[in-house]
């Protein structure tokens, strides 16, 4: 007996339905719940108020990433209080302290700042091998979509849902529609995963993926490394899709093999055999399909205040009338301090940020280092390089990348969300302009009044050298 052809997303969904009833959302089992300090305190309070426990602490993992600083981290056991604490903001300290108390009380594993396993929640999951194909993964963070790169159904949730997962290890969910984004042909030299996802968002818009789980498919996707795939899936939410997926293949298996929490021995063979059944069946139908021509892409950069306002770096700042939403463009140009017609590669920046859950992995740091090796950060420009995890930091140091960055005049930091989101000491000043490898160019995202241009690590490094938005090929 053969069942109807199904997509990857549908297979994972079906394998996690605890209970299904007409007229109700499906109750889905959650294989891994990632927790950080910002979106969890109210959820733990809710558990306490209701006298509930964490149902599966063994499927829950916590880390400190959003509001911890990236300087002054001297090592494991760095104090949270007192004169030697790197956390000087008392409110941030309270939030980190709350996470520590909550994880201790409910028996949840925590990677605190300074710990060798600490890092951005979406960097440590795959790195430790917790993120595996076919799993359901949630976190109180919209960039949970990152984990879809290994073929897991992973999506961001709010604090009420965090509490729900803590209490029940399940979530009631209405089945989303499915979308295929087929990226045909090969990416040209010098065009990265970040450029690809910016181009996709530019094409379908910030709401184009709303209501869908996106599966990225096609030659250019298959050719991406696991790290490039993580970058693509990370920004699914910027196109409105809660989850982005890439089918597991040999690249996935090679990435996972031998990682700390990946299956070992005979379990590995069993797991791989299962993972090979997951890719979308021939003949499966998506609710919507989009095709992207990879061969036509170039380095991309955002010019506005949402990630869909992106263009090739060789283009100019658009006039409101040239865009889909003239009102939004006009507002964005005013906020960004830009004039229509200005070539994008003439825009001068004050700060360059390399890091975040989008581009804070070892390959990203290697790419930036390759561009800046033997060169100098331009006068008047500050460049922050912030590894996504302490493990990435250690690996980069073993490869000598930190020396490349510091010799160029960049700052080498400890792991955290850093300048992606304006919640820790790494922020832009009002009016300051950045080229940033992060995921959001929203107004004030990197600090009140800050102006953000989203770029790849390669473009970030080239921009640091010239002081204006620059592709490496133009150095």
């Amino acid at each position: 007996m053969s069942s109807a052809p199904r997509t990857l997303a549908e297979k994972i969904w079906d394998a996690h339905v605890v209970r299904s009833r007409q007229g109700e959302p499906d109750l889905l089992f959650i294989d891994l719940h990632l927790v950080h300090e910002v979106t969890s305190p109210q959820a733990f309070d809710g558990l306490r108020a209701a006298g509930r426990k964490v149902r599966r602490p063994d499927l829950t993992l916590a880390t400190e990433d959003h509001n911890v600083p990236t300087t002054g981290i001297t090592g494991p056991g760095v104090p949270l209080f007192g004169p030697d604490s790197p956390v000087t903001d008392p409110v941030s300290r309270t939030q980190v302290e709350a996470l520590r108390k909550n994880t201790a009380e409910f028996g949840i594993e925590l990677h605190p700042m300074g710990d060798a396993g600490q890092g951005i929640v979406h960097v440590i999951g795959p790195q430790l091998g917790f993120t595996q194909p076919g799993m359901t993964i949630v976190c109180g963070d919209s960039h949970t979509s990152t984990h879809g790169a290994v073929g897991a159904l992973a999506f961001g949730i709010g604090t009420s849902e965090v509490e729900h997962v803590l209490a029940t290890q399940t979530l009631p969910q209405i089945k989303p529609k499915t979308m295929a984004i087929n990226v045909e042909g090969a990416l040209p030299d010098g065009v990265t995963a970040k450029d690809l996802i910016l181009a996709i968002i530019g094409q379908i818009g910030t709401g184009g993926g709303q209501g869908y789980v996106v599966e990225y498919r096609g030659e250019a996707i298959r050719a991406l490394s696991m790290e490039g795939r993580l970058t693509v899936c990370n920004m699914s939410i910027e196109a409105g899709a809660r989850a982005g997926l890439i089918a597991p293949d040999e690249v996935t298996f090679e990435y996972l093999r031998g990682r700390e929490h990946a299956p070992q021995g005979a379990d590995w063979d069993t797991a791989v055999a299962y993972w090979k059944t997951l890719p979308t069946d021939a003949g499966a139908v998506f609710d919507h399909e989009v095709t992207i021509d990879a061969t036509a892409l170039a380095p991309y950069v955002t010019w506005g205040t949402n990630p869909g306002q992106a263009l090739p770096l060789s283009a100019s700042v658009p006039a409101p009338g040239q865009t889909r939403d003239p009102g939004a463009t006009e507002r964005a140009l005013t906020y960004m301090g830009l004039t229509a017609g200005t070539p994008l590669n003439q825009i001068a920046v004050d700060t360059v940020f390399v890091g975040s859950c989008t581009n804070g992995r070892i390959e990203d740091l290697r790419a930036a280092a390759d561009v800046i090796r033997g060169r100098k950060v331009a006068d008047g420009v500050r460049m922050l390089v912030v590894p996504g995890s302490m493990q990435v930091r250690a690996q980069a140091e073993a490869e000598g990348l930190n020396a490349v960055f510091t010799a160029a005049g960049a700052e080498w930091r400890s792991a955290g969300c850093s300048m992606c989101l304006g919640m820790n000491p790494d922020t832009l000043a009002p009016g300051e302009r950045s080229a940033s490898t992060s995921n959001r160019n929203f107004e004030g995202r990197q600090g009140k009044g800050g102006r953000t241009h989203l770029v790849s690590p390669d473009v970030a490094a080239a921009t640091a050298v010239t002081g204006r938005l620059t592709a490496p090929a133009d150095l």
């Binding site: 605890v18 007229g23 109700e24 959302p25 109750l27 089992f29 294989d31 891994l32 979106t39 305190p41 109210q42 309070d45 209701a50 509930r52 063994d58 499927l59 993992l61 409110v91 941030s92 309270t94 939030q95 709350a98 917790f130 595996q132 109180g140 919209s142 961001g156 949730i157 709010g158 604090t159 009420s160 849902e161 509490e163 729900h164 029940t168 290890q169 399940t170 009631p172 209405i174 989303p176 910030t206 709401g207 709303q210 409105g240 990946a262 299956p263 379990d267 590995w268 069993t270 949402n306 869909g308 009102g327 939004a328 919640m423 959001r440 929203f442 107004e443 004030g444 995202r445 009140k448």
Partner: protein
């Protein structure tokens, strides 16, 4: 959460698209560990402009936010919903919402209503009229009604919402309690999970 059956009030017209949750509540307000008091951070950066719609005295006491498409995109922060509720809003009307925001809203008792762009613009017009129209968001009947505000006749706009979410909002029910009624199913499912799946402890 507070049940939502029907609500009548005046509307705040926010004629902007792509209002992300960073605008609804900036990250600096997210360091609190409680659910209360986020209203002071609502649209904090935009409120620095005296002409911003929320600062105009004529819109004081409005309880229904009517915004452009793609409202609540970006960050998963439920604080955005808490800020709107704390400020006094009971419902948000827009042509399209960010998925996570919409989910968070229904968990906390803020009703997200999807209506076509043209209807949203009519409601915004009625909200800006002097005197403004009275807007009723009727979850029971699944419709929005606008009376007055320069409209020649009563505007009745039906909207869609799934039966389960509607029932939960109308009863003000806690999701967790509902799920735990099925604890036996969860336990049975857990027994079927492969042993090689990762564990964090």
């Amino acid at each position: 959460m507070e049940p939502f059956v029907t609500h009548t009030g005046r509307a705040l017209p926010l004629r902007r698209t792509n209002v992300d949750t960073d605008q609804i509540i900036p990250a600096v307000y997210l360091k609190r560990v409680t659910r209360e008091g986020f209203g002071d951070g609502l649209f904090a950066a935009w409120r620095e402009d005296p002409s911003f719609v929320l600062n105009q005295p004529r819109y004081a006491g409005t309880t229904i936010l009517v915004a452009g498409t793609d409202f609540g995109t970006g960050s998963s922060r439920e604080h955005a919903v808490w800020a709107l509720l704390d400020y006094g809003f009971r419902a948000v009307i827009a042509p399209r919402f960010g998925d996570i925001f919409r989910n968070n809203a229904t968990k906390a008792g803020l009703l997200p209503v999807v209506l076509p762009e043209k209807t949203v613009a009519l409601i915004q017009d009625a909200a800006e009229a002097v005197p403004p129209g009275a807007v009723t968001v009727d979850l029971d009947k699944r419709e929005v009604r606008v009376d007055g505000g320069g409209l020649s006749e009563l505007l009745v706009a039906p909207f869609q919402i799934d039966d389960y979410t509607r029932w939960r909002l109308m009863e003000g029910l806690d999701d967790i309690g509902l799920t735990l009624r099925n604890e036996d199913s969860i336990t049975a499912f857990e027994a079927t999970r492969p042993s090689w799946l990762p564990s964090t402890v």
